[in-house]
Symmetry: C2
DNA sequence: ATCGCCATGTAATGTTATTACATCAATTGC
DNA sequence: GCAATTGATGTAATAACATTACATGGCGAT
């Protein structure tokens, strides 16, 4: 089971995010898509829900914003824990993955007998250029 | 330099969070403090800003809510990276710290020449009781 | 007393997200 | 063919979260 065919609205939202150079809020996406017939927030939120489900998009919790996934790999399988650096200067977001962190978190959480459903790792700061 | 004496509003907000059994949104805090003269969101947000600065309170980004810090240690010094498990069932939040994760993240981020200012780690799932 | 600083009070507004309800299209079963 | 189901969509209204702007009050330093 891979990613299903995207609907019209999902494709539009995906396209907007993919062509953006940084994260966008739902309302920013809405504005970008007004020319394509978008009128209400729900059109964006519904599309985002699916795109998040398919793993094509990530939500940045500390920003209330969304980015296209930049994983090199296919999305036929769930990718593990996703982490982000987020530059306060230029808004650049970099997605990365690390097996060691995933393992360590897994160990710590298991020690609490906690069952993980979703892990958020976001690092705010300044990128090389904006230091 | 330790934590300064809290102002009246800061004390009230801190008290509300400390006596709560879980995270509270700013507006929930506001409601709890109406009897003590709170009338507007800003009174809460201003107090929270300071409490966050002093490290007495943490913001849960994935919840838009706030919790009292449960560090055993004093707050005379910054504590390192803070992580949370957040149960979707009962709302229980557990704060924890891990040197290994901190180190590993530090390494990865340095490899990007990124300068960290604040790290968010939040694990949503179900606790032992709510499995 | 005057100034500067910080905490506070209040109102208005801005931003993010959800609920409720109606409609439409494709699919399934009869 | 045609009702029933399912999933996507459209629209409006509202809820939830956060900030801006401006005015006031307390208090220590000069
Ligand atoms: Zn990704
Ligand atoms: Zn930057
Ligand atoms: Zn803490
Ligand atoms: Zn629980």
């Amino acid at each position: 089971m891979g990613t299903p065919q995207l609907t019209k609205n999902q494709s539009l939202v995906m396209g907007a995010l993919a062509h953006s150079d940084g994260p966008m809020s739902a309302y920013t996406i809405l504005d970008k898509l007004r020319d394509h017939g978008f009128r209400a927030p729900l059109q964006v939120y519904r599309a985002l829900d699916k795109l998040l489900e398919y793993g094509l998009v990530h939500r940045l919790e500390s920003l209330n914003a969304f980015v296209a996934c930049t994983c090199p790999q296919d999305h036929d399988h769930e990718h593990g824990v996703t982490a982000f650096t987020i530059c306060e200067g230029c808004g650049q977001v970099t997605e990365f993955h690390d097996e060691a962190i995933e393992q360590r978190l897994s160990t710590l959480v298991r020690a609490q007998s906690f069952k993980t459903e979703k892990t958020t790792i976001e690092i705010r700061g300044h990128c090389k250029s904006c230091a």
